[in-house]
């Protein structure tokens, strides 16, 4: 797990520095821009920790999009949420590396529950199973890392996942870039929020296991066009179709 942690750190650092645009310009220097919110000491609505989490998650997403090395935790598309939120919290709260690594084990535990009962495949259940699952795993990990009980941790996961149910997978041109990268950035903030709520004593009315089952059910009911095929949603907006054209992908037949 130490190696996993190192690769996460590298991806964040590389992602923050890299100004290059990816092919079709869908990933660029957004991580850098978000991080600057901290340096300039600008007025922000979010806490510095949350801004950092967002910037780190975006950095990982952009690095991934540019074919950089990342940890697919639980997937590559949703790989920014967990390192973003955990490493930002570790730094801002000056926690040990060991604490962060333990948190990664907690995230994995939640991931195992999801993998067993459902899927991480967006082709099967949409983005709720990628970025959604990642926010649940991160929320539980953060809760454990800050000294919450296991009950609070799993409750945080339920709160996080519940709010990502129904999220479809509709990447422009089928590239893991738009909306994926920024979904990771805001997903990291989402995880922080779920953990705060859980620590405050807010309980998810529906227990985590059942939320996972609901995710599975929603995945079954979801149209194939919204499951990693790039045939609906954002992928077929005017902007999305322009990207398809640029990529020389076949035209989508109108129904």
């Amino acid at each position: 797990m130490t190696r996993v942690y190192q690769v996460m750190q590298e991806a964040i650092q590389k992602g923050l520095k890299d100004k290059k645009s990816s092919s079709f310009g869908m990933a660029s220097d957004n991580a850098k821009l978000s991080f600057k919110l901290l340096e300039k000491n600008q007025k922000t609505l979010l806490s510095p920790l949350a801004i950092k989490a967002m910037a780190y998650a975006i950095a990982t997403g952009e690095h991934n999009c540019k074919m950089g090395r990342i940890v697919a935790f639980p997937t590559a598309g949703g790989s920014g949420v967990i390192p973003g939120s955990i490493i930002a919290t570790q730094e801002e709260w000056e926690l040990s590396e060991k604490k962060a690594i333990n948190a990664l084990f907690t995230a994995t535990g939640i991931g195992l529950i999801i993998a067993k009962q459902s899927t991480f495949s967006a082709a099967k259940a949409g983005c709720q199973a990628e970025v959604g699952a990642a926010t649940a795993m991160a929320a539980a990990a953060l809760t454990e890392m800050r000294g919450g009980t296991p009950q609070q941790a799993i409750n945080a996961a339920a709160l996080a996942l519940k709010n990502k149910l129904g999220l479809v997978c509709d990447p422009l041109g089928g590239l893991v870039a738009v909306p994926c990268i920024k979904r990771n950035g805001l997903g990291a903030v989402h995880a922080l929020g779920a953990s705060d709520l859980s620590i405050a004593g807010v309980k998810s009315f529906v227990p985590f296991d059942e939320v996972v089952q609901a995710m599975n059910n929603i995945g079954d009911l979801m149209s194939e066009k919204l499951k990693e095929t790039a045939l609906g949603g954002l992928a077929t907006t005017k902007t999305g179709l322009k990207i398809r054209e640029k990529m020389k992908l076949p035209k989508i037949k109108k129904r």
Binding site: M1, R3, V4, V7, H63, N64, C65, K66, M67, G68, R69, I70, V71, A72, F73, P74, T75, A76, G77, S79, L104, F105, A107, T108, G111, L112, A115, K116, Q117, S118, T119, F120, S121, A122, A123, K124, A129, P171, G173, G174, L175, V176, A177, Q213, N216, N217, E224, K227, E228, T229, A230, L231, M247, L249
Partner: protein, 235 residues
């Protein structure tokens, strides 16, 4: 609400399949998972193929270019790991090795996972081999068909897996298993698929690694045609 708990998933996951794999982007199912399908296909074919045809199904067919699925599949065929930055250049590397490859889109049928590829490997002087593999999410993959045999083959950490082509004769398989156990490997499970007189068995063992010479020795056993080891992929 009238849905019940449905366990869609009988696959087992190890910790580092959740917290991983460490990989080159952009997509775990379309890049890392595809690379693993390629690796498994190559391990089954064993030799470097001269020509490879990839038939892409479902979501693989729709979005393969954006996710570099094509590069990742070829990378697997030339045995690159999921975290190897050389994946980006797999086309050139494969061409240098003299491997011809092409991609086609095809509908393999609704029974297959949306992220599936059919791989046809050819080499002079050998029968062709067709392998169908699915990338089932988070970078995990499995082979679901070898030639006409439906199988369920994946790389499970902690196990040493061998694939055996043999005749449909229980005694021959039992004899082979006895030899494997004599080597000090425990047999965890065996999955056998038979089609008339022929069979493929996937044997999961734990214990020491098989060496190539051990495999060769086991291959000499009556009724056994070929044995492939996936151990290199499990390290």
């Amino acid at each position: 609400m009238n849905y019940t708990t449905k366990n869609t998933n009988t696959d087992s996951y190890s910790i580092f399949e959740i917290a991983g794999p460490i990989m080159i982007g952009p997509s775990s199912s379309h890049t890392a998972g595809a690379c693993k399908i390629g690796q498994m296909a190559r391990a089954l074919f064993h030799k470097q193929p001269g020509k490879v045809t990839f038939i892409l199904h479902g979501s693989f067919a729709e979005v393969y270019q954006g996710h570099a699925t094509d590069k990742a599949l070829v990378a697997g065929i030339i045995r690159l790991k999921t975290g190897d930055p050389k994946i980006k250049h797999s086309f050139e590397l494969a061409a240098k090795k003299g491997i011809e490859f092409q991609f086609k889109k095809g509908n393999l049928g609704p029974e297959y996972h949306p992220n599936t590829a059919k791989i046809i490997m050819e080499k002079n002087g050998r029968p062709n081999m067709t392998v169908i593999g699915s990338s089932i999410g988070g970078g995990k993959s499995k082979i679901v068909k070898i030639d006409d045999f439906p199988v369920d083959l994946n790389i499970q950490a902690g196990f040493k897996t061998i694939v055996v082509w043999h005749d449909n004769n229980k005694t021959h398989l039992t004899q082979l298993c006895n030899k494997i156990e004599k080597n000090g490997n425990n047999i965890h499970n065996i999955q056998t698929t038979t089609i008339s007189k022929e069979a493929i068995s996937i044997i999961n063992t734990d214990g020491p690694d098989f060496t190539l010479s051990e495999i060769k020795k086991l291959e000499k056993q009556k009724g056994i045609k070929e044995i492939r080891s996936l151990i290199k992929l499990q390290q």
